[in-house]
């Protein structure tokens, strides 16, 4: 930016060790031994009291995974992961059926309190009578408590942990699990299929508009625990659901692996809105520690006129490898991707989306805003493909990158593949620093420099912030502020 000298100094001086959410909860943990083998998978499956077919499914995936090779195409660098040096199962000890929040370990509640997670309804509802947020909180690998279940049941919405769903709704799981991200999909998705421990399951039946925003907070807590969530959301004909996912993790020295899979299925006229705020521990200022976040997220617009919208705010993790995608199978289906990716310190982000146009008159929209500071590398990697038979496909893509400091990198790698002449595809990308004119304009009106920069950054990401549900928009803005602390005021 020819960033004024103070800004540069401050960016250099940022101590991301001060990671606001870096603390550790001391709770007894029920843990499987380190390492990955068929026995561990049997152990996980048994712990979850899963039916035989689920175990088979996992073992098949594991066998497949053994033959696969770790992908290397992303612009991220990290030491080789020893998959046998990780724990694949850890569950808070006193998990056996708390019926109310009062039964939950107070230590755990305090952890959430520190994170600012509104677990208690009273707190959630304080002042906001109309907005209810159901929380299916994942603490390490097991769902601890689920609220608002009753109200959801009344509407016919199923919202529970995926382990419960496997036991209680095997027919839905059999029909949908792995139908969007098959077990053979990619290295990390296959690993997830073999060892996933928990996650959320949402089923919104025909014609139902889910009466509240659904949300899950993931938190990695136990040392060396890979966390492998599996989320499955199904919206039947005409249904609507908005799902929020937010993550924070405590400070760690060793790198932690996180390989989640999220599958969304939207049938005719259904709409799914999936929002993420991710602020896992990014590592310290030397680039030590931090979460490895290798996620496969995919939505299938299976029905006509269906719509899937991804919104993400990525500020955490040492490494992010994440491409929430939409398969636009149904005619007139729509896919959207709104993303803010902020990297600072030694963070590496390789993220983007895929829009696969298969049906007729499908449309997609991609808005991606990358902000790099420190010595981080921030890559947008996205694909828009129009199938031979996808008449009248429309896509608009806009990726903007903002660089703060001259030691970081911003990269854009879009893949555009068009096989139908009626398609209309537009892509634009820009990379720049904060313009001196804009800064001058603000400062000339008496706004201090750092504040002016914050203002401009906020304007830069506005298009995406607006897509977030209210509850998240505030948190997201706060997070961006924390992530860039020192560099943008």
């Amino acid at each position: 930016m020819p960033a004024v000298q103070e800004t540069i100094d401050q960016v250099r001086g940022i101590d991301i060790d001060q990671y606001k959410y870096g603390f550790e909860t001391i709770i007894e943990v029920d843990k499987a031994p380190k390492g990955l083998s068929e026995d561990i998978i049997r152990f996980i499956s048994a712990k979850k009291q899963e039916p035989e077919w689920m175990l088979e499914w996992r073992l098949d995936a594991y066998k497949r995974w053994l033959t696969m090779v770790e992908p290397t195409w992303a612009r991220v660098e990290y030491p080789k992961i020893d998959f046998n040096d990780l724990y694949y199962y850890a569950a808070p000890k006193n998990v056996t059926g708390p019926v109310s929040l009062d039964e939950v370990d107070p230590e755990l509640l305090r952890t959430y309190e520190k994170l600012g997670i509104p677990l208690r309804e009273q707190e959630i509802l304080a002042g906001v009578q109309t907005s209810k947020v159901a929380v299916d909180a994942v603490f390490d690998s097991v769902s601890v408590v689920t609220t608002f279940k009753k109200e959801l049941q009344k509407a016919g919405v199923i919202f529970m942990s995926i382990s419960e769903a496997i036991r209680e709704h095997p027919e839905l799981i059999k029909q949908y699990l792995g139908s969007v991200v098959p077990t053979t999909d990619n290295y990390y998705a296959t690993l997830n299929a073999a060892v996933f421990t928990d996650g959320s399951f949402v089923f919104v039946p025909k014609g139902v508009r889910c009466p509240m925003e659904l949300s899950t907070y993931f938190r990695i807590n136990e040392k060396n625990t890979g966390q492998f969530e599996r989320t499955l959301i199904i919206a039947e004909e005409g249904a609507y659901v908005s799902y929020l996912e937010g993550c924070t993790a405590p400070q760690r020295d060793e790198n932690q692996l996180h390989a989640a899979v999220v599958e969304l299925v939207a049938l005719d006229d259904a709409e799914i809105k999936y929002s993420t705020v991710q602020n896992w521990y990014p590592g310290d200022k030397e680039g030590k520690g931090g979460i490895y976040n290798f996620v496969t997220k995919r939505g299938d617009c299976r029905g006509h006129r269906s719509k899937i919208s991804w919104t993400q705010v990525e500020t955490g993790s040492a490494i992010t490898w994440k491409y929430p995608s939409c398969i636009l199978r149904g005619d007139e289906s729509q896919g959207e991707f709104y993303s803010i990716a902020v990297s600072n310190g030694h963070q590496q982000i390789d993220s983007g989306t895929k829009m696969i146009h298969l049906g007729k008159n499908t449309s997609s929209r991609i808005i991606s805003k990358g902000i790099s500071a420190g010595v981080s590398q921030n890559t947008y990697r996205g694909q828009v493909s129009v199938n031979r038979r996808a008449e009248n496909a429309r896509n608009f893509t806009n990726c903007d990158s903002l660089l703060i400091g001259d030691k970081c990198g911003a990269h854009t790698v879009p893949y555009i593949e068009v096989k139908n002449a009626s398609a209309q595809i537009e892509h634009e990308a820009t990379t720049s620093k904060i313009s001196d004119d804009q800064k001058f304009y603000a400062m000339q009106r008496g706004i201090p420099e750092e504040e002016a920069i914050a203002l401009i950054v906020n304007g830069f990401v506005k298009d995406v912030i607006q897509q977030l549900p209210m509850e998240f928009a505030v948190e997201a803005q706060k997070l961006i502020g924390i992530s860039l602390e020192g560099s943008v005021g």
Partner: protein, 427 residues
């Protein structure tokens, strides 16, 4: 744990085997001293080990050469080919017929020699390297290259008449090279023309190695009109010195399998690149234009515009990577790639890439793929222009706009003529 199952001992395809065999047959007669022959051996060995690139190699993602290059024609020596008239009136034609250079012409301010002499005396060594581990064209050409033209434009020389490098060939294998250096402050216009003069499949590899010394102002036009059965694997390597200005115009209007790599390094402050491209794709061609542009020092500018028209079963690719090095502040780079996809049997893939390591830069790229704008069509049809004709006019305007930027009528007219003739034939 991670058992590598996808890399068995590599088996050579028919084309790869043919190349290895051809090399064994030709090595005895390929020009070159000991060092050159050693380099050729090594390049071929690398080619053999790596195989022809597949889509798993990122820079060849859309051109799976291993799969697309089915056969390699035998070398045909001494085919009789006559030069054609110069593209531009008054241009000096230097011809390379069936890969054999004629370096007997002389131009004031220009030293002209045959590349085979550089191979023989070993001075060609410096350029005989592959640019990176995936540089299949560099390896192929370096192994087999026999001849070409070496031009050195003297410092301060202003060459008024365009120089046409006329590469004509019939069937067979042709591997040529054009090392051209432009002295400080020199001015010139070069037309690099590749054209098939006979039916029958040819495999052409060609590398132009261009150096612009400080302040040189050069217009370089590439006109590729290979035959419908030809494979054209070309590379343009260019280096720009301080305040050098390169205007590079590329017109692709032929070939069955075309890969054209533009590898440009901007190395002097104040340097400026203007890159314009027109790709006319018809029949069952697969044409891939891949640009790798490095802005390596502060205060450099570049603009790149490509216009593509796709008819029939043609398949087109544009990959454009702009890399801004750390400390290359004040870089201003803009790239656009616009495609008219006129046929549901055709396809076009675009991968514009930005790789930016400096903060005070303005870089952007835009890409569009669409059919002709209905409003434009309506506008013309409402004025009584029949649909067919209206479409023709709009497509023509879409690409002609690019060559018109050359401004010099003497250059614009013949290129527009080539575009019109091509469109009449395919539209």
């Amino acid at each position: 744990m991670n058992i590598q199952t996808n890399q068995p001992a590599s088996r050579l395809t028919a084309a790869e085997t043919a190349l290895v065999d051809a090399f064994a047959a030709q090595i005895g007669e390929l020009p070159g001293n000991g060092a050159v022959t050693g380099t050729r051996d090594r390049l071929l060995d690398d080619l053999k080990k790596a195989g022809l690139p597949t889509r798993r190699i990122e820079s060849w993602h859309y051109t799976d050469l291993k799969n697309l290059l089915r056969a390699v024609p035998d070398r045909v020596a001494g085919a009789a080919i006559d030069p054609v008239a110069a593209l531009v009136k008054g241009a000096t034609v230097l011809s390379i017929l069936q890969g054999q250079a004629d370096a007997t012409s002389s131009i004031n301010g220009v030293t002209i020699s045959a590349f085979r002499d550089q191979l023989t005396d070993g001075s060609a060594m410096a350029g005989l390297t592959a640019l990176d581990k995936d540089d299949a064209i560099g390896r192929l050409n370096g192994s087999f290259v026999r001849d070409g033209l070496v031009l050195a434009i003297a410092a301060g020389a202003e060459i008024d008449a365009p120089i046409e490098l006329q590469a004509l060939h019939g069937e067979g294998q042709i591997h040529t090279r054009f090392p051209v250096s432009f002295g400080a402050g020199s001015k010139a216009t070069i037309i690099e023309r590749h054209q098939s003069a006979a039916d029958g499949a040819a495999l052409v590899s060609s590398i132009s190695d261009i150096t612009l010394e400080d302040g040189a102002e050069i217009t370089w036009i590439i006109l590729q009109q290979q035959g419908a059965a030809d494979t054209h694997l070309a590379q343009i390597r260019a280096k720009l010195g301080t305040d050098a200005k390169l205007r590079l115009y590329v017109v692709n209007a032929g070939g069955k399998l075309v890969r054209q790599e533009l590898r440009i390094e901007v190395q002097g402050e104040g340097a400026e690149l203007t890159l314009r491209g027109v790709n006319l794709l018809g029949g069952d061609t697969h044409t891939d234009v891949t640009l790798v542009l490095g802005h390596n020092v502060p205060h450099t500018n570049s603009t790149e515009t490509f216009r593509n028209v796709v008819f029939d079963k043609a398949s087109g690719v544009f990959q454009g990577m702009i890399r801004v090095a750390p400390d290359a502040q004040k870089t201003d780079a803009k790239m656009a790639c616009n495609t008219l996809l006129m046929s549901d049997d055709g396809d076009f893939s675009v991968k514009p890439e930005l790789e930016i390591f400096a903060d005070d830069v303005i870089c952007g790229h835009g890409a569009t793929v669409a059919d002709i704008d209905r409003n434009h069509l309506f506008y013309m049809m409402a004025r009584g222009v029949p649909e067919n004709k209206a479409r023709g006019l709009l497509v023509n305007a879409f690409v002609a706009e690019i060559v018109e930027e050359l401004e010099d009528e003497a250059l614009v007219e013949p290129l527009e003529e080539i575009i019109s003739v091509w469109l009449d034939k395919h539209a």
